[in-house]
Symmetry: C2
Subunit: 387 residues, 2 copies
């Protein structure tokens, strides 16, 4: 079927992002039973293809795709892997670190936080010192904090955790990094990757996307306290996910069938498309450099304190001196360009955020990046001319 999505403003916030028409068409799949022979292999495909995107195909790894937002993956991690009273270390790089800590405490974890300065990352020395001070059941790392655009050195953190506290589980909040930043699940020894569909995967929001290691599953199976949630209990979902992966019907709660079709289309485009995964990550880096270099030429600064700790799928850009959110956000919208305002509470009014993930970064023939840079130039020129 030919399907052309409706004309609309260019969506360049750090998720949801622009979707390919083929993905939207998959999201309009006719009514289909969640346990039908038609649907089961589609779900199975998604569970398998996710592992490829994350370089996490080691036997025993388990994907979970559950109706919900990315946030639900925090609940999954906290409720399934941590027992009440256990210590968890949160490497906090902004808004989403604060929230993950709240979530962990809701399920009874004792949380210690290492808070990076705004725009910076937790230092290796602080991490090692914390690991030596106490035995942690789990360390959580925000890979890209969507509030600041900071990219943390997740692989290096994982290496330090392996060296200094090998029994500690590692959870990576990769909501804003899956498919836009390289994640080496098996090589790094990550135990849980938490993500969602509407960012680098390029699929409408509504699915919690998680990959768990065999060690995480064994931790679940060995726990003494009951899992503190019903809906997100992996004890209930594990047989379901295994069944879908093996091609058998199973039921716990109805999956979002249309969205699973859309995710299959999205994952296939990433894994089986003309580009390799490595090319995809390189394309995101190129897009990021183009946006950041272009903004710098317009006199715009950045929230992250260095290019090497800046996300490749988004940019957190500071308003130049004398320019305010009102000069930029609504004016860009008038040009049919939708960017996001600031989110980190301490600096929210001082910066804005541009997403450049998925088709916007990879399909350069769309011209999205040029349109964004031209739009920003127009609104900044207008703001400066006012004075």
């Amino acid at each position: 079927m030919t399907f052309q999505q409706a004309p609309h403003k260019l969506l360049v916030i750090p998720g949801p992002i622009e979707f390919d028409s083929s993905i939207l068409l998959a999201n309009a799949t006719p009514g289909t039973s969640h346990v039908s022979p038609a649907f089961i292999p589609v779900f199975g495909d998604c569970l398998r293809l996710l592992k490829k995107v994350l370089y996490g195909e080691k036997p025993g790894n388990q994907s979970f795709l559950i109706a919900g937002s990315g946030t639900l993956g925090w609940d999954a991690t906290a409720a399934n892997l941590v027992e009440p009273g256990e210590d968890v270390l949160v490497l906090n790089h902004g808004y989403f670190g604060d929230s993950f800590a709240d979530c962990l405490e809701t399920y009874g974890a004792k949380v210690t936080q290492l808070k990076a300065p705004i725009g910076g990352v937790v230092s290796e020395a602080d991490l090692v010192a914390a690991l030596k001070s106490k035995k942690f059941k789990l360390v959580t790392i925000t890979h890209v904090d969507t509030s600041t655009g900071v990219l943390s050195p997740a692989g290096r953190y994982a290496e330090l955790i392996k060296q200094n506290s090998p029994d500690t589980l590692i959870a990576l909040d990769a909501v804003c990094s899956v498919a836009s930043e390289e994640i080496r699940f098996d090589d790094w020894g990550i135990d849980v990757v938490i993500s969602a569909t509407q960012k680098g995967l390029g699929v409408p929001p509504g699915l919690s996307v998680v990959l768990a290691s065999e060690r995480a599953i064994k931790t679940l199976e060995a726990r003494k306290a009951p899992v503190g949630s019903y809906y997100i209990s992996w004890k209930r979902w594990l047989p379901i996910m295994r069944a879908y992966e093996e091609g058998r019907p199973a039921y716990f709660a109805t999956p979002p069938v249309q969205l699973v079709y859309a995710l299959q289309a999205g994952l296939k485009a990433i894994v089986e498309g003309p580009q390799s995964l490595e090319d995809r990550f390189a394309a995101h880096k190129a897009a990021s450099n183009k946006i950041k270099d272009g903004l710098a030429q317009l006199g715009v600064g950045f929230v992250p304190l260095g290019r090497e700790i800046s996300a490749n799928g988004m940019t957190a850009a500071k308003y130049p001196e004398g320019v305010t959110a009102a000069d930029v956000l609504p004016k860009l919208a008038e040009l049919d360009i939708v960017v996001a305002g600031g989110l980190h509470k301490d600096i929210a009014t001082t910066y804005f955020r541009i997403g450049h993930m998925g088709v916007t970064a990879v399909k350069t023939e769309r011209g999205d990046l040029d349109k964004v840079l031209a739009g920003v130039k127009t609104v900044l020129d207008a703001a400066r001319a006012k004075k």
Copy 2:
């Protein structure tokens, strides 16, 4: 835009159901920000229109639309309204009663169950006796148990609860009854209706749909123990839902934007369509009678022990003597008709389930019901001829 959904098998399970092409097209809405001026009123519409479908427009009532399956509404009820150690009475009419009880216990409730015989309903006398035996914080009622097709007299139960234990909260699991059975939220004095999109509402799965009374919200606000979930905490969602309803942006977790567009289309079709709500319920009753009378003529019996306690949106039909699931389910699929097998563990192999909700019931010009009856006749004739 003209959009014609792809040819597909007729989906007549008790949810997901057949979707109108206009709803699927809405589910293919281009990438749109969850906090944009375009989207906020759409979300607000859904929150308001849901109240109309449930005759629940009393000020103080609060809709919640959260990415997840219908099951998540159980967690919402259990985690937000019940504190650990409080007594809950579950009126159990099958598989979904068992599961709701499990969910309540996960969050620390002390559950008492009144289990109806298979195909029957809890007696009024048993309910009254239970209410007099103990003070319950909450009574849960499964309106239509999708496993048995039993329709419980929810309005009458609510009346008895009001008379005998007026302080007790009432939660109605209406996943398989919203928009196919009349629910008088305000008149009956229900405190929580729990539903999902993929049944009577005729929208793809992936949204937990809940309406809570002012009394439920006050119960939440007065609770002493912290809410036992992060993702489904109404304390986090209440300001978000109020903001969307008032036309302001707010963020806790990303809503499933495309599905909210689809829900808006679905709710508008129900509330603002050519038919009144009353006509819609009458259409479901007529469809149900047509299917049930037609099946009876084919020598098929039913799981529910009487027409007056049979759902109008689905039928749980027993295989006639000598006919098995293998004679019916795959053979109907060959005729491009998808029905569901049995789900209640004690009788799963003895019956099948047909859904007749939404367009299948209301848009009689589609001819879905005739197709189903003709298909069942064909496969039963073939099964009987084999002997």
